[in-house]
Symmetry: C2
Subunit: 206 residues, 2 copies
Amino acid sequence: MSTPSPLIHIVDDDESLRVALLRLLGAAGFEARGYASTGDFLLQPLPDRPGCLLLDVRMPGPSGLDLQAALRRQGNPLPVIFLTGYADVAASVRAMKAGAVDFLTKPVEREALFEALQRALARDATQRAAHMEAERLRAAFAALTPRERAVFDRIVAGQINKQIADALGIAERTVKLQRARLMTKLDVGSVAELGRLAERLRHLTD
Amino acid sequence: MSTPSPLIHIVDDDESLRVALLRLLGAAGFEARGYASTGDFLLQPLPDRPGCLLLDVRMPGPSGLDLQAALRRQGNPLPVIFLTGYADVAASVRAMKAGAVDFLTKPVEREALFEALQRALARDATQRAAHMEAERLRAAFAALTPRERAVFDRIVAGQINKQIADALGIAERTVKLQRARLMTKLDVGSVAELGRLAERLRHLTD
DNA sequence: ACCACTATTTCCCTTTCGTCCAATAGCCTC
DNA sequence: GAGGCTATTGGACGAAAGGGAAATAGTGGT
């Protein structure tokens, strides 16, 4: 469970600002990368590590809002902090409704930037942890055979072995075997834990 | 499980706008009430029914943002839609970060208003349902005696009756009694359901 | 001190669970 | 067709769960 250090992405067509931000973040101990446009950012493969995105709104080509929308469509939860030189209420509201962490106007105050950065990285950490947990769960259930899955469903529904055997048309002895197998596969030691797993799974799926 | 019809609250010092909104909402079949100021709104006891708040930002006295902050401090989750005549990015961002559903600039377009209204009422309904569910759960657990609660904790931890009896210094038969009692009180029919309840409770408490 | 009441305990019985060993049936690969 | 593999089954045994009946604390009220 090693947690790589965060990587801050900066997308802004103003090179002097990019350089200034890179220097500021670097001095604060952050690793950061700059991109001159939405296209430049999307061309790079996004490494799978913690981080966030400092994003200009108005740029030649696709806007920052376009990039944010694209990331969301891709299911990429990378937290976004907008930086803009234009006071545009409609854009700020749209950005925030789309889940932006913050929407800062240039010139950006150092403190405001770091405060937003901290919240963005905290959100990212939370999201990544939840996502990994969800993936572990999904993988564990994907490893079950259809029969085991059926037995699982009936166990958590409160049915006893005899009822399950009856419903599935198999011997009670077999139910016991599959029951033991799925408990091993899901790495649980009691029916109560099984119920908790079921609840967490339901919470993921809805 | 009757769901009362929603009630829309309008807080704005501009009486003509209030009247217009009341008429507009009334024509759309909504029940709505107007308030000339933050103070007027807070003076009225807030009925416990679905609804949302259409809130002006700038008013004589406490601002709309102040009211929003006060509601949040009180733990009141009433969804807020801001209406403002001033283009103020900082205010809009602050409002959205504080959880506002939308931040609309006057003159408000009819469609934008109803779209926001719909999302606000949907959010309110979701929140209210989750809150009621949480309260039911809390009430059920509050009805358990300390002993029953202790037994519950150990059951969901996967301990068997003998271990529980040993740990609590009581007879195994007594554990079985309390176990049966708490299952009745929590209205569950299996240990798996017990585990699911435990997971939901943990989810509430964190 | 006495009674009502609840919590706890002891004894006993039935059902269900968890697991052992051995065996059978179906299916894929070589 | 000979393995080799998985799913399934049967019988059996000890442990655990669920519950009935009656005895035994302990408590608080009178």
